[in-house]
């Protein structure tokens, strides 16, 4: 992990390199990958997979993988805003499921960190499956750094 105890958040954080590490963990197993990023936002992808189906009669993805995608996208957005990796944990996350994801489509999750304090980061984001103007989920949440973000 690109962890660093350096108090000054100046080491830089590149989510593209972070996702090249291919972790053997939940997000790796879900196939979550990097798509794009800016100074305070990140876009990740969740490929459609039959093993992630929550409603077999419709072939629709379960809501859990979308929650995991948005947890990850908003978490990485915090490290982008800091431009550094800092260990933190999700304090709360709320998701509105605006519509079902379309079977077969990759889900794109965009997370943004819009405010950060020494101990709390405030995040929001949306997920879509091709058209950002037609979102399928909306999230808002907070993260907490036990050791402080700086």
């Amino acid at each position: 992990m690109p962890g660093d105890d350096n108090a000054a958040p100046s080491i830089g954080f590149d989510p593209r390199l972070f996702f090249k590490l291919r972790f053997v963990n939940h997000s790796g197993r879900l196939g979550i990958g990097y798509r794009d990023h800016g100074d305070d936002w990140v876009e990740l992808t969740l490929p459609y997979a039959e093993e992630l189906i929550g409603d077999p009669s419709m072939g629709v993805l379960a809501s859990g993988p979308i929650l995991a995608l948005m947890d990850m996208a908003t978490s990485v957005a915090v490290w982008r805003k800091l431009d550094a990796f800092k260990p933190h944990a999700t304090l709360d996350l709320r998701i509105d499921y605006l519509r079902p994801a379309r079977p077969g489509q990759t889900v794109i999750g965009r997370g943004e960190c819009y405010r950060i304090t020494r101990s709390i980061a405030f995040v929001r984001g949306q997920a879509h499956d091709g058209d950002p103007a037609d979102p399928l989920a909306h999230v808002a949440g907070t993260f907490m750094a036990a050791e402080g973000y700086w």
Binding site: H26, L61, D71, R94
Partner: protein, 124 residues
């Protein structure tokens, strides 16, 4: 009874007095940062526990299809390398909307690692 995503999480069902309890094993498929459960896996477990509790209540009330409207998850403790259990409670079963809560715990139910509150749309 459980969908493919429940198998993905490795869930099994335990009978209980109230709604069924779901059990999730610890392993690489559900960890986030090293040695801790991923928040997404905990959230997914809580949602499955809520769905199971709601279907349980709905079956006793004429049945119906359910659609998730929203979920709010509070993360209270890190999930460690042990079994995690989760159980849902239907706080209100209406004609069109159900309010459901769920908690996840590892040692005792009164020391939850996470809790969630959901609204579901019911199509009868």
């Amino acid at each position: 009874m459980l969908p493919p995503y429940a198998d993905f999480l490795g869930l099994s069902i335990e009978a209980s007095d109230g709604a069924p309890v779901l059990v999730m094993p610890f392993g690489p498929d559900v960890i986030g940062r090293p040695d801790f459960l991923h928040g997404g896996a905990i959230g997914g477990l809580l949602e499955m526990a809520a769905v199971v509790a709601l279907k349980h209540a709905l079956d006793a009330d004429g049945g119906g299809r359910i659609k998730p409207i929203n979920v709010t998850v509070d993360y209270m403790r890190g999930g460690r390398d042990k079994l995690t259990r989760a159980q849902g409670t239907v706080t209100r079963l209406g004609n069109r909307v159900a309010n459901v809560e769920a908690i996840a715990w590892q040692d005792e139910p009164d020391r939850p690692i996470a809790a969630a509150r959901m609204n579901y749309l019911i199509v009868r």
